[in-house]
């Protein structure tokens, strides 16, 4: 028989968790409600509630999607994402492999440089990076965010290094004895073995890139180069006070990463943890 004590504990646990769920989902649900209201209902129905079912409207979504800029935003975000991911994976895997498996001159210096690179604070570096980007004529091109995402964020090295250190060295040795070149060893044997780590890296990076506001805002002020995030900023400034329209934009911009999270939760949690605990 269950004791009162443990029943009390169970109820208490559920109450706490439900409060947490309300706090987390509340602001999102309220935004969702607003996006489904007409302008009159925004004033008349409590912001905490949906309007009556027959008054729910999709008009706000229609008017956001009518705006070509959001389509451009999704396309630009997609282009930046795909190119950055390809290079991040290729360079990340090969760098981690070389650092993890070989001894060579200047190895300590190179590893030290990568470590230092992670300590440099993100936002303020742009003051000096801005000059380099403009002198390479990358300002106001998709190249600016792409090259910064490829060069600037080094978390993939840690994930790949951890993963490679668990792959047995005897695989390398026997491949080389069998006459494999180092390039074949990496391309045909090691790279495919890293697939699970690659999945983690891709998903974590996708979320970071899709959500990033700062780099596109700073380097791509041109209208045609808006990403979904900078689109939303622009849209918000144009919608002064018309919250129901803005709410629809907010919901649409939230969807991609929430979708990724729902489908790839396991990878995301694993990647976030191993990206954090670097040593």
């Amino acid at each position: 028989m269950m004791s009162y004590d443990s029943i009390f504990k169970k109820i208490f646990r559920q109450v706490i968790c439900i409060c947490m769920v309300l706090i987390v989902t509340g602001p999102i649900l309220i935004t969702l409600f607003a996006s489904l209201k007409t302008k009159t209902d925004m004033a008349q129905v409590s912001p905490l509630l949906l309007p009556s079912l027959d008054r729910i409207t999709l008009g706000n979504y229609k008017s956001v999607l009518h705006n070509k800029a959001i389509v451009t935003g999704f396309i630009n975000t997609g282009i930046i994402l795909v190119i950055s991911l390809i290079f991040n994976v290729l360079l990340g895997t090969i760098t981690a492999f070389v650092i993890e498996r070989f001894q060579f001159k200047f190895k300590k210096i190179i590893v030290g440089l990568f470590f230092l690179g992670m300590l440099i604070p993100t936002f303020v570096t742009e003051i000096a990076r801005f000059k380099i980007i403009t002198s390479l004529h990358l300002y106001n091109t998709l190249g600016a965010p792409i090259i910064i995402y490829i060069a600037g964020d080094l978390m993939q090295l840690y994930i790949y290094r951890q993963f490679i250190s668990r792959i047995s060295v005897s695989i390398d040795e026997s491949a080389i004895l069998d006459g494999c070149s180092y390039f074949t060893l990496f391309g045909k044997i090691i790279f495919p073995l890293l697939a699970p780590a690659t999945a983690t890296v891709c998903i974590i990076k996708s979320i970071a890139i899709i959500n990033d506001m700062y780099i596109p805002y700073l380097y791509m002020p041109k209208n045609k180069l808006r990403t979904i995030t900078t689109f939303l900023m622009n849209y918000a400034n144009a919608q002064q006070g018309s919250w129901e329209q803005l709410a629809a934009g907010i919901v649409l911009v939230m969807i991609p990463t929430i979708g990724l999270y729902i489908f790839f939760q396991k990878y995301i949690l694993a990647g976030v943890v191993s990206g954090a605990v670097k040593e």
Binding site: K131, A151, Y182, I210, T257
Partner: protein, 296 residues
């Protein structure tokens, strides 16, 4: 064998040249360049700049708005610090298996992956003075009298923004703590329970020590995060009213990209780097002297 050795060196050089080049060009050189820029009056556009020694450093220390911004960073830091025990408690709670625990785990981390700009606008709506949801909520609870202009009252705006920051990042810490708790081998718990330890004792003598390194990481992450708070105030208040909700990074970015004083901004960037390293060292000394000694 010589050819194999050559092949190996070629492979290493070929693999590393591009990553190292990118690292140097886009991370290390800009990082170092900040120091050089901090001694100039560069405006961000002209090809020329004058060497002005430590004048920017003197100007930075006398800048009252910057000090105000740094004080605002302290609010974020304190609020997040006070939240760490709660985050730990949630990690211990969600580490157990019970009805709905998987769902709760999913929900607790969700804010971290949502678009920060989108969520900042969502909270601007939540706290808006006209038909805002928070005011409506207070009314339902019979606390309508407490309504105020949440985002334009200089006395509370930083706490409101810190709350948004908590909302976004607490789940991340919970997940990190959970991972640390799971790294404790099951047998240790079993042995402790057989020896008659209660759950408070398990928490105090097994769980806490084993997650001390993670607490260390979260503390440092908190400092780094608090010093670099940017997008939430940038989107929700752009630092206003006045500089009431400005932060150190926000002020630095404004100094460069809005007021074109890149030299002065570089000085502030150097200051942020310096603070991060300093606090990291202090914290390491404290953690290693106090905590690790206790558990040796």
């Amino acid at each position: 064998m010589i050819s194999l050795k050559k092949q190996k060196s070629f492979f290493i050089a070929a693999s590393l040249c591009l990553p190292v080049l990118l690292l140097l060009a886009f991370v290390m050189i800009p990082g170092l360049d900040l120091f050089r820029l901090s001694a100039t009056d560069w405006d961000g556009l002209s090809s020329k700049s004058n060497f002005i020694g430590f004048a920017n450093y003197a100007a930075m220390f006398k800048n009252a708005d910057l000090w105000q911004s740094l004080k605002n960073n302290m609010v974020y830091f304190t609020v997040h610090l006070l939240m760490i025990p709660v985050e730990l408690a949630f990690a211990v709670l969600l580490n157990q298996k019970f009805r709905g625990s998987h769902f709760y785990k999913t929900v607790v981390f969700m804010p971290y992956i949502i678009n920060g700009v989108a969520i900042s606008y969502a909270f601007s709506y939540f706290f808006s003075p006209i038909n805002g949801a928070f005011d409506a909520l207070l009314k339902v609870l019979g606390l309508g009298n407490f309504s105020r202009p949440w985002l334009s009252d200089a006395g509370i705006v930083n706490y409101v923004l810190s709350f948004v920051s908590l909302w976004r990042f607490s789940g991340y810490h919970v997940v990190l703590f959970m991972a640390a708790l799971q790294s404790v081998p099951e047998e240790i718990y079993e042995a402790a329970l057989i020896d008659g330890a209660n759950s408070a004792q398990v928490f105090r003598y097994i769980q806490i020590p084993s997650i001390m390194l993670m607490v260390d990481f979260v503390l440092f992450d908190n400092i780094r995060g608090a010093l670099q708070v940017f997008d939430i105030p940038f989107v929700m208040t752009s630092g206003g009213p006045g500089y009431a909700s400005s932060t150190f990074t926000l002020y630095t970015i404004k100094t460069s990209f809005t007021f074109s004083r890149f030299g002065l901004a570089a000085t502030m960037a150097v200051a942020i780097m310096f603070m991060i390293v300093l606090i990291y060292v202090i914290q390491n000394v404290i953690i290693h002297k106090l905590v690790l000694r206790e558990h040796k």
